[in-house]
């Protein structure tokens, strides 16, 4: 029988993969992808909780929708930044963006 725990497990694995991606990728785009994975994992959690714990209230889904909205905005701005950096610096490698280092 598939229950809440299974969905949460899937979400946890996806979240961990996203985390790994964010922290290891060299480029901004790769990092953004990792973030997207993490956000989606959270969404899955929200929906799953909503389904199993409070099925009569759809708050979890509402939250997921807002998360998607924010994610969309984030991707738009993130990619715009990516273009900008690429054009100015001709690189997308995070390690080289070190002007703010002391």
């Amino acid at each position: 029988m598939i229950g809440l725990a299974h969905f949460l497990a899937v979400a946890a694995i996806v979240f961990a993969l996203g985390l790994y991606g964010v922290l290891t990728k060299r480029t901004i785009v790769g990092m953004l992808m990792g973030i997207e994975l993490m956000l989606n994992a959270v969404n899955l959690n929200l929906v799953a909780f909503s389904r199993f714990i409070t099925p009569e209230i759809l708050t979890g889904q509402v939250f997921a929708i807002f998360t998607i909205t924010v994610a969309a905005a984030e991707v738009a701005v993130g990619l715009a930044l990516f273009f900008r950096v690429y054009r100015d610096r001709n690189t997308v490698h995070v390690a080289r963006l070190n002007t703010m280092r002391w």
Binding site: L19, L23, I53, V94, A95, R101, W102
Partner: protein, 633 residues
């Protein structure tokens, strides 16, 4: 009628000169004529009032035992109630008369002496305040009021000694005067604090009642300490050894100020304080002995310095110190009457001497050294006459004023202690000698070349005449009028006139005059030889026993050195510690800065690692475990 009014309004006596000071200070500083008029007018009014008070005192029979006291509360706190008021008894009334009279005469004299000075108004403003402060001191009803005006007197002396403040020497003398008397005030203040502490009151009427009971109960030990501390104040103020050093330097002020300081105000304040607090001192034999010996030593010590001084005003200054020592000696042997009598006559002849010296200086501008003067007798006959009267009076030649008071003191001393009497006699001899020396060197002998001396103007002669008259009769009249019946402590004790003592002191004085004539007046020019012969003794005396140098060394080496040392510590050690601390914080920051590597991955790792740690902590936190076990979500 008037005397009753005067008694009721005695508080006006100090207030009038104070008002004059205010008026001149605010409005009349640049109007010399009006300023002098205001000051002299107010002084005259307060002298008239003081005379009225004296008349009232005789009429109403106010005695030492039954003073007339008016007072209003000044400060009321739990544990400290201080009044300000007027304390009228023969002692204070005598002082009122003397102070107002001398102040008035000196102000009259100043009109001529200070004529044309750019600070004329300022001078009269200060001198009025000086008189006011002294008068306030005289009528004090308690120790605190006395101390308040005591300090004001000090301030005024500071201002007046430093009157010619463009002169470095005047500036330093003023500072020295204030500073030295401050050291004395230190003791006085502690003494007053202790009195308040022991008795809960400082009132001159309440204290005499409490002290005998205290003595019976607790003995005299602590109270002797208190009395000696109180006496430190007079030591400073009245130029007793070892705090006399400011007094000769105080000659830097204008001569009328010297006259005022030395004759009637300031220096006699110390004597007055001891007299006022005689109820305390007289009950403590050890304290009395100290006073007597300090007085005797000061008298002899100062006289020995005066023997060799060359500056005309300095000679007079040391003679003042010596005479003050006499007054202290008289107090120390328990004779308030003799001391106050001498204070009275001294006020007259010392003021006279100073005014005469001032006239000399006025006639010979820019010269202070007596050996640069000579033969002034012909050019300045009036001044010469005044000086002769003054010298005879201070020497105790009958029937001049000094004779009666000095005789009274010698009688009292003789009755108590023979060694002290010997010291007093030696001092009397020296006094006469150096005064005669001054007289002969300045006025007799040949005129020195290039001397453009001229006689003093009338406005200076009249005051000298008044004081000259007083210096002649000021001893005899009070003596016959029963001075001792009024100004006394305890029962009136008339010491019988002793021909032996009076005769021997007179003979001694005449001998001293003769000796001085031989050395200085006869033209034998033995003075230089004598100076060479005496060698060390002469050097010691001429350099005032190097006491000034010692104090200067103390001040500059010890006090300044300590100050510099602490200041160095402040700059290097304290500041160094602070800078070290600040550096430490900076190092810490530098170390921590390394953690800000700018490596995003490390930041992320640390952040999530920390989040994980928190998660784990939450998991193993018993509280949360209980929550989870209790049903969860």
């Amino acid at each position: 009628m008037f005397s009753q009014y005067a008694l009721d309004h005695a508080w006006l006596i100090p207030l009038l000169p104070a008002a004059a000071c205010m008026i001149i200070g605010v409005f009349l500083r640049r109007l010399p004529v009006l300023a002098a008029t205001a000051a002299i007018g107010m002084s005259l009014l307060s002298f008239i009032l003081a005379a009225g008070v004296a008349a009232g005192m005789f009429a109403q029979g106010i005695t030492i035992e039954q003073p007339l006291v008016y007072k209003i509360p000044w400060l009321t706190l739990p544990g400290l109630a201080v009044d300000m008021g007027v304390y009228l008894d023969p002692l204070s009334v005598m002082m009122l008369v003397v102070v107002t009279l001398v102040a008035l005469v000196v102000q009259l004299y100043s009109v001529g002496y200070m004529h044309g000075d750019e600070g004329f108004g300022r001078f009269f403003s200060y001198i009025s305040l000086f008189a006011a402060a002294m008068l306030g001191l005289v009528i004090a009803v308690n120790f605190l009021q006395l101390f308040v005006f005591w300090e004001l007197v000090g301030l005024c002396s500071y201002l007046l000694i430093g009157y010619y403040f463009h002169k470095i020497s005047a500036r330093e003398a003023a500072k020295k005067a204030f500073m030295t008397t401050r050291v004395g005030d230190f003791g006085l203040l502690i003494g007053i604090l202790l009195l308040q502490f022991l008795f809960g009151t400082l009132d001159f009427q309440a204290l005499p009642v409490q002290i005998p009971a205290y003595l019976v109960q607790h003995g005299s030990g602590l109270l002797t300490v208190v009395a000696l501390l109180l006496f430190v104040g007079p030591i400073g103020k009245s130029g007793q050894f070892p705090l006399h050093v400011w007094l000769p330097d105080a000659m830097e002020g204008p001569t009328p100020v010297s006259a005022l300081i030395h004759a009637a105000t300031m220096v006699v304040a110390g004597v007055y304080l001891v007299a006022r607090a005689f109820f305390l001192f007289s009950a403590l034999p050890e304290a009395m002995a100290v006073i007597a010996w300090v007085g005797a030593f000061t008298a002899c010590f100062a006289a020995s310095i005066a023997l060799t001084q060359r500056d005309i005003k300095r000679i007079l200054a040391y003679s003042t110190i010596s005479q003050l020592g006499y007054m202290m000696l008289a107090l120390g042997v328990g004779s308030l009457t003799a001391s106050m009598f001498h204070l009275l006559t001294h006020a007259f002849f010392k003021a006279l001497l100073f005014l005469a010296a001032g006239a000399v200086l006025h006639g010979l501008p820019g010269k202070n050294d007596i050996f640069e003067m000579g033969g002034l007798r012909r050019k300045m006959p009036a001044t010469f006459a005044a000086m002769v009267i003054g010298v005879l009076a201070i020497s105790g030649i009958p029937p001049f004023a000094g004779f009666f008071s000095k005789d009274e003191i010698l009688l009292a001393v003789f009755a108590v202690s023979k060694p002290l009497y010997a010291v007093a006699m030696v001092t009397a001899f020296m006094t006469t000698f150096y005064m005669a020396r001054l007289l002969f060197v300045v006025f007799c002998g040949p005129e020195k070349s290039g001397q453009q001396a001229h006689e003093a103007p009338l406005s200076m002669k009249i005051p000298m005449a008044i004081l000259g008259l007083l210096a002649i009769v000021g001893g005899y009249i009070p003596y016959t009028a029963g001075f001792g019946d009024w100004v006394r402590f305890g029962p009136a004790a008339h010491l019988a006139f002793d021909w032996k003592i009076a005769g021997s002191s007179t003979l001694l004085a005449l001998a001293a005059i003769g000796l001085a004539w031989l050395i200085y007046g006869s033209g034998c020019n033995t003075a230089a030889v004598l100076a060479r012969r005496s060698g060390l003794a002469y050097q010691l005396s001429y350099h005032k026993y190097y006491l000034d140098e010692a104090y200067l060394w103390l001040n500059h080496t010890l006090v300044d050195g300590f100050g510099k040392l602490l200041s160095w510590l402040e700059l290097h050690v304290v500041e160094g510690i602070l800078k070290g601390l600040a550096g430490l914080v900076g190092q810490l920051g530098n170390g921590l800065r390394k953690a800000q590597s700018g490596n995003l991955r490390v930041y992320g790792l640390v952040m999530f690692g920390a989040a994980m740690l928190m998660l784990l902590w939450l998991l193993f936190d018993p509280l949360l475990k209980g929550l989870l076990a209790g049903g969860g979500y």
